[in-house]
Symmetry: D2
Subunit: 98 residues, 4 copies
């Protein structure tokens, strides 16, 4: 099992991930994304789904038309781990290159 | 614009769509689906996304691993219309054939 | 039914669509795309699939890892029509914005 | 690296995988699938894409509307290995349950 990130490390790490925040009510991080249209939103979700299967680490997410809200947490560890940070960073790099 | 369904018609129609319910707090219908795994959940979402684009009618939905929650409402009409019923029925037929 | 594009119009139009070519052996246009990885290739295919369903016009395509080959033709018209050009142009604009 | 399957083992294994055949011109196996429509074809492709990413093993495939042709081979081994058989078997089980 992977270790929980200490809170101070988590806060420092999130400062390098624009727009990602710690959830108020639970140990998780989240961010909302807005795309030009549903097509773009869902093809991004497909990319993230492929990442999730490859890394055995799945998001909690919702979609309304061109908006995607993503929450990341490591259920087996009971909070945020490096796997969540890696996923968030991958998303940021992915979107910078699109 | 498409007309809102009268409440009595909506209730009667939902009685033929197993598991679909009227939302308590707004004019919309919803249902939760559980799949064997994330793979199945997301390929179902892809089917529904393709339907949504074809019919210019998009769901509000969330996914956690093997679970997909779908809420349908016609935003331009401000509530449930035949387009939502058609989408719900398509989902049911799709899943019966999978 | 939509009209076939006259050959001269087709050639002139393709000159504005970088990399798209007329097939040698049939009335169709094609282009090969190379992406950084399979993830990117397949999320592009998902976007194009959503376009295809929305516009009732589907590609012939193949994929090997990070490569996607697309052939477009209007089967009901027996050759290249404006629908194929629109699809090709959409793909180019999509990829320029990714 | 994973070992090539001996030809006799391959032939015997394929006899348990309905419709899968050895390619005539190269060391690979293939099968054609026909679905009710493009929606079903592409959501199946999405499932297979998720499998491919999870297992780091990708298909060569083509799609025309409701038809999907899949060729499987292990490029690093230069032919058919157990990874290809596993993928083919997963596809068969997936489709039996849909």
């Amino acid at each position: 099992m992977i270790d929980l990130l200490p809170h101070s490390v988590l806060i420092q790490t999130l400062s390098t991930l624009a727009g990602w925040q710690v959830c108020m009510d639970r140990s998780a991080i989240y961010k909302s994304f807005v795309f030009p249209d549903f097509n773009r939103a869902f093809s991004f979700m497909t990319s993230a789904a492929l990442y999730a299967e490859r890394h055995h680490h799945h998001p909690e997410w919702s979609n309304i038309f061109n908006r995607v809200d993503i929450t990341l947490s490591s259920h087996d560890a009971g909070g945020v781990t490096q796997k969540d940070i890696d996923f968030a960073r991958w998303i940021e790099i992915y979107l910078q290159n699109t």
